[in-house]
Symmetry: C2
Subunit: 336 residues, 2 copies
């Protein structure tokens, strides 16, 4: 590995102090430095292929221009899509992002927070897993800027950018009911994650306000880990009721994928016998004979906003910004 060139090398070659070199290269004290000297310094820096040692600078100025991103799993489309948007937005202000996957596990989550703190990130963007309220609370007390996205903890007063999941679910179910469905069901994860509970709450409200008697067996919750079999079972049960469900809201796109693939093996017809709506888009279902109506999150806006709020907070960490974005119901062929 070749020796890196430092400010000192440039200073020696030009015959000035390292201070002066630093000033010139950082465009400080402009106009107060002789043009020729500045010129010469810049030339030499270029010639020697000088590159600032960010480590040293960061140590001195106590700022790393790095943000940490904690998602559930970087390999999932939602997480990696967000990562990309955040990457681009952060890059505009010369921030680099380091990432980690929590696997919906509070302990792994804690380890990641710890790693990122040790690495002196300037801030964090976090999709907190279940049971991480305490850790988020402690983080808040530490004073490091961070913003939650996708999920948030209502008990902790922090920045967040989330979907108005209640309204999104409400509107979706209402739409199905208005379309003639009498027995709408929901299949979602068995979790205490607030954003998921909001979806169920929106579902229930839609039934209530439409005068439909809620039936407990219409709400199916499956374990978030390896849910395939449980989802199939849930759908099967919903369709085997004395009065079978005639509409299903799938609580996430991955649930929808398993659910619809299973439904595809059944003789029933969508949307005539069964209406379907999915939370989030699912390219994987594009070949299903009835294109799936879905709840569209404004991913791009959410990612950008999340990043901007964080960068705003870095340096002047005062206000708390909480955003609940509205979803759009994209109506396609799986609903009437």
């Amino acid at each position: 590995m070749n020796k890196r060139v430092s400010l000192k090398d440039i200073a020696q070659k030009v015959g000035v102090s390292t201070a002066l070199v630093s000033y010139v290269l950082n465009n400080k004290k402009e106009g107060r430095i002789k043009k020729e000297v500045a010129q010469k310094i810049r030339e030499t820096a270029k010639e020697l292929n000088y590159r600032t040692n960010l480590l040293a600078r960061s140590l001195k100025i106590n700022k790393t221009y790095t943000i940490g991103l904690i998602v559930a799993d970087i390999a999932s489309p939602f997480s990696s899509g967000m990562a990309r948007i955040i990457e681009d937005e952060a890059d505009k202000l010369n921030y680099t992002v380091i990432f980690g996957s929590s696997d919906e596990n509070a302990q792994k989550f804690g380890k990641l927070v710890d790693t990122f703190l040790t690495r002196q990130v300037d801030g964090l963007i976090i999709a907190p897993p279940e049971n991480a309220e305490n850790q988020v609370f402690r983080l808040r007390q530490q004073g490091l800027p961070f913003v939650l996205f996708d999920r948030y903890c209502p008990s902790v007063n922090t920045n967040y950018v989330a979907l108005d999941n209640y309204t999104a679910a409400y509107n979706a179910v209402k739409y199905m009911i208005d379309g003639g469905c009498k027995r709408p069901a929901i299949v979602t994860y068995d979790t205490t994650l607030f954003h998921m509970q909001e979806r169920v709450r929106g579902y229930s409200a839609a039934l209530k306000l439409s005068g439909i008697d809620a039936n407990k067996s219409w709400i199916k919750k499956v374990n978030i880990i390896n849910p395939k079999a449980a989802i199939e079972k849930a759908v099967q049960e919903l369709l085997s009721l004395d009065e079978p469900a005639d509409a299903i809201l799938f609580g996430s796109n991955s649930i929808a994928v398993h659910g619809v693939k299973y439904i595809n093996t059944l003789p029933l017809k969508v949307p005539k016998d069964l209406a379907i709506i999915s939370f989030d888009e699912t390219e994987s279902l594009d070949l299903f004979y009835a294109s799936i109506t879905y709840i569209k999150q404004p991913m791009h806006e959410m990612g950008q906003l999340t990043t901007r709020i964080l960068l705003d907070c870095i340096g002047k960490n005062n206000k708390v910004t909480q955003v609940n974005m509205q979803a759009e119901l994209v109506i396609r062929a799986s609903t009437r």
Copy 2:
């Protein structure tokens, strides 16, 4: 933001030197330090919630325990899947990964390399875009450890982990020919990227060795940016030949997705009228009536190996490791 506690704070509280604290916390000079003192130092560190300042350490030891990952687009399944595998493997040795997306653009690629070098990464994992040979070559001269994956530049003698694309394509096409196909076509990207050219080379070799007269119009190349329309046109042309193609090898999973979606709108039957094989898996096609036969890359092994080779090289950057992995042809319903 709360003041961080430093070695000095611990040293003062315990009444020893910072050197001693450093030794204890890093488990150096074990056994040569009084047990009680060591104990006391550890307790105090814990009590004050001490966290090493990695910046300072890195500056001193000239090692950041960070690796940079440059992919085409972190939002794509291949890239994010790899990212996840690399994350896990790197974590085992306490490395953190920072990432960036090149968008298949050599200039963006150069900017990312530059950013990562400035951030003093210990090494790089790179999927180089087209026209980046020079940059890879220069990187090689710099002496920073790195390993290419997925693609590589045959003109530069570096570490890489790639698929044996030639054999993979050869076997796939050979399989279709053995199954009775007379006029196999290939739809792939119009690119000078070596790994893609290898796929075409494998395709051509299979025709030749099977005694099939190659027909130039069987090879369709589409632009890598926004290829949807071009792919549909390519498929349409292949099927409109006087003697239409009766088999298609899609050069990537995203090409296959567009291609098969289009084919799904046509009256022809897969695999009777047309056999299909895709490079890489494509969950998006799971609902197609004939499950797609595909060329499976050993993603997990590739990701792990790539990371291990890099970490091996960091610190003792001597040998060059080049790995061409064998793909597996996963035979399903889209071929006879």
